[in-house]
């Protein structure tokens, strides 16, 4: 049985059918990439899965637990974590405080209001371990907002990792990155695959073909096809709607223009 299944997800915005009966499965230990042209509904789908948007129809099941009726913070507690397309960290706080906040959500009550939080060694240790995991140990006391974009993205991933997720949703982790940062992120994502299954949304085709075990192609809110890299590369409809008709040569080369 798949670790994660989305079944018949539907989302309408007025007359626009942004998500059109999407079925999607992610297996244990798998990096599953979701690609598609701009406006295909990739971010909407991630928001439906993480619960930030309520689906009009369909189900979301993780590890046999139906998450459909749960609020986003409850889904997070069931092992579903996500990053954001636009880097979402606490810009005015240090890296350490960012990680402490993420770790704090996972153990004990956040309604405790008298004891000093920073005196909790267990939290400090877990925050430092997370920093080490994504290579931020040197920057623990730097202000998150002052860090370079690539480093902030890694912090974003670390925040999501704090919950020890079973499924990690990464919404364009390479967006706006130069080649060096991209390479680091690719290495990080690959190293995460041993801990969690990953649903990766990405425009960077090099990264997608390098990382993904399976690729699903989303077009106009519908899954066009699903399969391994070779299958997707060779799929004629994918070539015409998403990658341009003259494929497959550009497929391996193509790097989406950074924003």
């Amino acid at each position: 049985m798949s670790l994660f299944r989305a079944e018949g997800l539907v989302k309408r915005f007025g007359g626009l059918l942004a998500t059109d009966h999407v079925d999607l499965a992610v297996e244990r230990g798998e990096i599953h990439a979701l690609i598609g042209p701009n406006g295909a509904g990739k971010s909407t789908l991630v928001n439906l899965i993480s619960g930030l948007l309520a689906a009009d129809a369909g189900r979301v099941v993780l590890d046999g637990v139906d998450l459909t009726a749960l609020a986003p913070h409850q889904r997070s507690r069931h092992g579903l974590a996500r990053c954001f397309q636009i880097t979402s960290v606490f810009r005015n706080d240090s890296v350490r405080d960012n990680l402490m906040l993420a770790v704090q959500a996972q153990s004990g009550s956040s309604f405790r209001c008298l004891a000093r939080r920073d005196a909790e060694h267990a939290l400090q240790q877990r925050a430092e371990a997370l920093a080490q995991r994504v290579g931020l140990t040197e920057m623990l006391d730097r202000n998150a907002g002052t860090l370079p974009h690539g480093v902030q993205k890694r912090l974003d991933v670390a925040l999501a990792l704090a919950s020890r997720p079973r499924l990690l949703l990464l919404d364009e982790p390479m967006a706006g990155m130069g080649p060096e940062d991209s390479a680091q992120m690719v290495a990080l994502i690959r190293s995460l695959a041993s801990e969690t299954a990953i649903l990766l949304i990405e425009h960077d085709m090099d990264a997608v073909f390098e990382l993904a075990d399976r690729i699903s192609v989303l077009v106009y809110g519908k899954v066009l096809t699903s399969g391994d890299a070779a299958h997707v590369r060779g799929h004629p409809e994918v070539q015409s709607v998403y990658l341009g008709t003259e494929a497959p040569a550009p497929l391996t080369r193509r790097r989406e223009a950074v924003r």
Binding site: A71, H73, M100, A105, S110
Partner: protein, 327 residues
């Protein structure tokens, strides 16, 4: 050269740590030394500052730390004050029972109002909290039994307990001071707790907090209820202080004034609320002595603060203290 510099910077944080105690000692001594300088009148004034500071501290907590721009905080002050009126009307004479009930009833009102308002964001939240407070205002206006528009006089002071009442003419002052100090210490402590960190996280990036697994709505509601209860307590104390309660206590302009004072002092800063309240009320008092048109200089002051110290007056002090420590 290193040694004196090191000693100096070690010295200053010590002073900062002792500052609250120094302020507390000065305030505690004030009623004793005031008569010697002919300042008895100002004991009552400082008492009012302290009570308003309690309410402002609770507003600073949800607005400054929690990012909830509530424009109806005076409503909870009013609920507290009218709770005292209701209990006195029913024959209650214990101050502790009356003030405690003021906090509890205002907390309950905050739970009901918060449960609805906190489902909205931004301007809508401002408008809905304002609307609820105005409803309470008109409710008080229409309640003839408690004086309606004319207000309600509390002719016999509430009793604080056997030895307290006769001990000194200024016992009520010290009681207010003790409560204000306790509230200030409590909120300062909460700011560094798990809850305080979570609240600030929600203020800075609510969506991320949701994704991290925080029950954001319940966390905000808890803060809103606590703040409402403390404002209600301030309202109860204010009823005793004025020996009079009228609907004007919770007019929306009072909520706005409270907001202005907190912003003047410094949003989300430990000393923001008490400093803002003290500064605003002291200036108001001083200006009133010289002119009937005391509103406009205060308006000018507000403009100056907005342009030159947008983080509030306490930020100026903090910056200076930071520089000294760095020196």
């Amino acid at each position: 050269m290193r040694k004196p510099a090191g000693r100096h910077s070690a010295h200053l944080p010590g002073l900062v740590r002792r500052l609250p105690w120094l302020v507390l000692a000065l305030l505690a001594a004030f009623p004793l030394v005031a008569p010697a300088f002919g300042l008895e009148y100002y004991v009552g004034f400082v008492r009012r500052v302290l009570i308003v500071a309690i309410a402002a501290t609770s507003l600073n907590f949800i607005l400054g730390y929690g990012g909830m721009a509530a424009l109806g905080h005076a409503g909870f002050i009013g609920v507290g004050a009218y709770t005292v009126v209701a209990l006195v009307e029913a024959g209650v004479s214990s101050a502790w029972l009356a003030w405690g009930s003021a906090a509890v009833i205002a907390g309950l009102a905050a739970a009901a109002i918060g449960a609805v308002s906190l489902r909205t964001r931004g301007v809508y939240f401002i408008m809905i909290t304002l609307a609820f407070a105005q409803m309470l205002y008109y409710l008080a206006v229409s309640l003839r039994t408690w004086g309606g528009d004319d207000g309600y006089g509390l002719y016999t002071p509430l009793e604080m307990g056997a030895w307290l009442d006769g001990a000194h003419a200024q016992v009520f002052y010290w009681v207010v001071l003790a409560i204000a100090a306790l509230i200030f210490a409590l909120f300062s402590r909460v700011a560094h707790s798990r809850y305080g960190h979570a609240l600030r996280g929600i203020r800075d990036n609510e969506t991320r907090m949701v994704a991290l697994g925080y029950p954001v709505f319940r966390l905000k509601l808890a803060g809103f209820i606590a703040a409402g209860a403390v404002a209600g307590l301030a309202g109860g104390l204010l009823a005793s202080h004025n020996a009079f309660v009228s609907p004007s206590l919770m007019h929306w302009t009072q909520s706005a004034l409270l907001l202005v004072m907190v912003m003047l002092g410094g949003l989300g800063r430990r000393w923001g609320a008490p400093l803002g309240v003290a500064l605003w009320l002291a200036l108001e008092e001083a200006l009133k002595m010289h002119t009937d048109y005391w509103h406009w200089p205060l308006g000018v002051l507000l403009l100056l603060v907005v342009f030159h110290a947008p983080q509030g007056v306490s930020a100026l002090f903090e910056r200076r203290a930071g520089k000294e420590a760095a020196r």
